[in-house]
Point group: C2
Chain length 643, copies 2
Amino acid sequence: MAKNCKVSFSPDQKVVEVPVGTTILSAAMTAGVSLNSLCGGDGVCGRCRVIVREGATSGGTTEFFTRQEIQEGYILACQGRAESNLVVEIPPETRLAGIPQHVVGEIPFLTDLSNLAGRGIRLSSLVRKTYLQLPAPSLEDNVSDLQRLEHGLGRAIDCRNFQMGLKVTRLLPQLLRKADWKVTAVTGHRGPLTEIIDVEAGDTTKRNFCIAADIGTTTVVCHLLDLRDGQTLGRAAKYNSQASFGADVVHRIVYASQEPKHEGALRDAIVSDLNELISELIQRYRLSTGDVTLVSVAGNTAMIHLMLGLPAEQIRKEPYTGAAYHLPPFRAAEAGLQINPRGLLYCAPCVAGFVGADVVGGVFAAGLAHSSETRMLIDIGTNGEIVIGNKDFLVCASASAGPSFEGAECRSGMRATRGAIDHISLLDADHVLNYSTIGSAPPAGICGTGYVDLLAEMLRTGLIDRTGRLNKEASPGRIRIGAHGEAEFVVVPASWTSTGSDLAISQGDIDNIRRAKGAIFAAASVLLDALDMTFKDVAEIMVAGAFGNFLNVGNAVFIGLLPDIPQDRLRFVGNTSIAGAKLAALSSDCYDELFQIASRMTYFELSTAPRFMDEFVAACFFPHTNVEMFPSVMAELSSGKEA
Amino acid sequence: MAKNCKVSFSPDQKVVEVPVGTTILSAAMTAGVSLNSLCGGDGVCGRCRVIVREGATSGGTTEFFTRQEIQEGYILACQGRAESNLVVEIPPETRLAGIPQHVVGEIPFLTDLSNLAGRGIRLSSLVRKTYLQLPAPSLEDNVSDLQRLEHGLGRAIDCRNFQMGLKVTRLLPQLLRKADWKVTAVTGHRGPLTEIIDVEAGDTTKRNFCIAADIGTTTVVCHLLDLRDGQTLGRAAKYNSQASFGADVVHRIVYASQEPKHEGALRDAIVSDLNELISELIQRYRLSTGDVTLVSVAGNTAMIHLMLGLPAEQIRKEPYTGAAYHLPPFRAAEAGLQINPRGLLYCAPCVAGFVGADVVGGVFAAGLAHSSETRMLIDIGTNGEIVIGNKDFLVCASASAGPSFEGAECRSGMRATRGAIDHISLLDADHVLNYSTIGSAPPAGICGTGYVDLLAEMLRTGLIDRTGRLNKEASPGRIRIGAHGEAEFVVVPASWTSTGSDLAISQGDIDNIRRAKGAIFAAASVLLDALDMTFKDVAEIMVAGAFGNFLNVGNAVFIGLLPDIPQDRLRFVGNTSIAGAKLAALSSDCYDELFQIASRMTYFELSTAPRFMDEFVAACFFPHTNVEMFPSVMAELSSGKEA
């Protein structure tokens, strides 16, 4: 039986008893203490800051804190685990009004290892290190060096079908003898074969790391994992440098198809991005390149094509077929990735030209593929992908949303990093009541979740009407014609920002977001319709995506991005794409299952669905032209007018 | 039922009825017509020349004949097959006295495809070409190009686990569309995986060829196979250019181990030899390099190491362990072989440092591994390897013999090619009664089988005594001190040779051959002894080896190379090494089985067997110091003295 310990929360004066090793966030949830902003427990948002005043914790990360804060006891509640009785203080910035409690309670820890065991997933990473103390050869036992290695390894990892390249085989005799037959075998999963990708002298099992990457059209995210225990050590993200060749997938494919040099430029851009993030993580954790033996990639179909130098041209042309959706592992160096020169690159499988490995990983990570009830996954990125299904069927579709939810292509937009406004509430048309920024830093821009809140509040306060038009009369002081000749609403004046400029939302920004949410909602509606279902038939809607931070689901419903169903059936599940890439990296069983899931997913082509364009136009309204679909929103809007 | 046809042999006036498709050699054996010199039916010796006067034949090769001879109807009896009633003339050169009929009757056609079917072996080459007419993609069927290819291929060849490299995948979309979805998939066997090594536009299945190679210490042999039907098209051989770095394996390993440059030089030498032979065969049959997709290699352990650049140093040092005995397929280009750049190189497995893939291939080809009776395989090359066993056990050993049986390191020695004296009989000490040369050309040298005959006849006529010493008094006119200051016997005077020099055998040559046969006989004796067996317990002794031509088994017994057992239990089976390489190339089942056989073979280390040196010294006598082991030889020798 696990030992228990008591965790006290101040200033709430609530105490809860939990097993040793429980995260502070879990303990807070059990205690009914609501913590601020959350990212699916992945530790990426840095918002669940708490101060441990008494007691011992394990886990946690230092990347979001100053030296002084660390000394004061700051820790991320989702990362720190109770090892003894604790006294935990919740600082003011970790509380924000308006976050529905039920959503906090529902956030799953997709890649939490203690959770994985509960889901029957064992740690068996795609690249493994096994330390072997081989018997020295003798006249009675003089098999070849390779056989000796394979016999020892076969016993250690219960495997028989090995394969080793010529280069490593050539080095083997000297290595084994210099290392006195004590070596570490580095092996890679290749379906029915196990590749011995390298052999290292002595015991190097402590140095086996993985980069899990989510390559989005707009954002590239890398996590560094320790393959020994599956822990996530660190995270890094940046905008996809391909953006300069086109904001969306189709523009980039057109560019790449023009001439081979262009294809190379796009490939170089994304490979450089990945290498930059890899290098940053390697340096931050003082690793050497050789310690990273594995890159596990999820991402949309076009991004995976462009990264690997596969021709993507046909993806944008009817009937929208990519070069390859199910790829075997490659040498990471062959794709230009700067990890261990013999390390492997595994790509999660794609389903169609516009339903990629990011979605397949998400379907797995969010548990859709094993669910007995029918669920919906909405993955909001530059493309919005919708999957509806359960353990018996999986149907998917894709709609182009544009990058505004990732903070791109909006005048004051930014990625969900330090200084981004991620939550906003307005008192009235002239006053911002409250906003929060990531890392509690002075505001530098607005990220996706901030825009969702902002539009909902602007709609509530009459700053925009249901078509999205800015209503100058509602706030003559804050709505103006901006420097670009376009109407805009000033969200934060320059004096409060870190940039020294006003943060504003323009009419064009609003229209971008309107179209993005319209496309996603229309895709979900049409796909349901094709299945002869409505939103009421779906047990749960899981919202994944590039929102680096917590989405206010109520506001997402208010603007019509999500349907108006009971909020306990709406769940924000964070970046399920990187969760899928991490699960694949940590478990060869998961990796293999991704391919089965991809094969099970039936793609529904929206571009030929006659209803789609009508539905899209209707869904570009706030919340929708068909107001009956959004009774709670309409009730609130009309009560607001009456007030 | 097979149709029959009648084959008449002249001048014998014998007629036999055989199924259509029977080789003329088989027909002759059935008819009791004895044909001259044979090489195991592999078509390498060019000695079973016959003239087809009437009727239709199939098969055969032109490489041993002049244009005029072809017009006259010359054909090799072992290659030509009766397609109708035939009248076949046996020319004088195809008859030679002294070839025991029983040996002719026993020669197996190791790689004859009609035989293979009888042995339950199906044609399924390691590299296959499959023509596919794929459906074009549509909105209803828009899987990726790679999946489309794999689905089509999977249906065609009943396979599921495919793997394809990044380079080919990158080219796939354009290729499929340019070829209008009609392509040929080139696939390679990789155990549980099938690698799609290339995809070619249109139907290229007619152009799929293989080089099977036997890399001996002294001789390198390549056969060109058509993988469509398994037929052997042509053969080429040359001395191993590594000879200039040392005559035997140990000298070469010592040289290679001195510095990396040396290892490179040995590797370059053998790779150049192979490329020379490959290029010769490609040109002779007007193929392009890209048509050759497969190299299947057998050879001794050291040669395979040196060819692949694997360190061989440990092979010669106790406990004699090589780098790798069971190797996966490699890209042939990675080893420097000039065939299709994406073609594969498969090496048959080795057992120990001195029992190589040549022996494993031989054990399979000669049927030892499946025999219910215990048999012995003696493979005579620069090393002599002995295998004793049956379907239940396989034990093997190796002894260094030197290259004299391959015609090397003897003053007048030469490989078994055109102009080599392959059979000799002496009337008395002063006269050569009869000799034959390969291709009936003027004599240029003496090959291995010629030396066996020569020594037996010299022993019979008293030119040498049982210690091998030349007896000058026996032939004062033909035994002299040669240019090198050494006693020698003139076999053929300069006036009859093509070289313009006398062909002679020196005392040193005799001693080389004496030690070679002593080592092989001693190895067989000691291995039997270790198993508590004698030669009498062996149902059959199969002699394989580098003798390019037919070995006179009676003479081999007479000099004590082979034991004095009933000659119907001795069988010359030719080059079983290349037979093994060919069988592996033609059948992935055979290839897989070679690895099982190699694992079953138990290696017996002779260097630590106390009896070996005594037995070697005893076996260096003619035929042996223990004369009771050779009753028939001693009876003949004493009757000769009495005569």
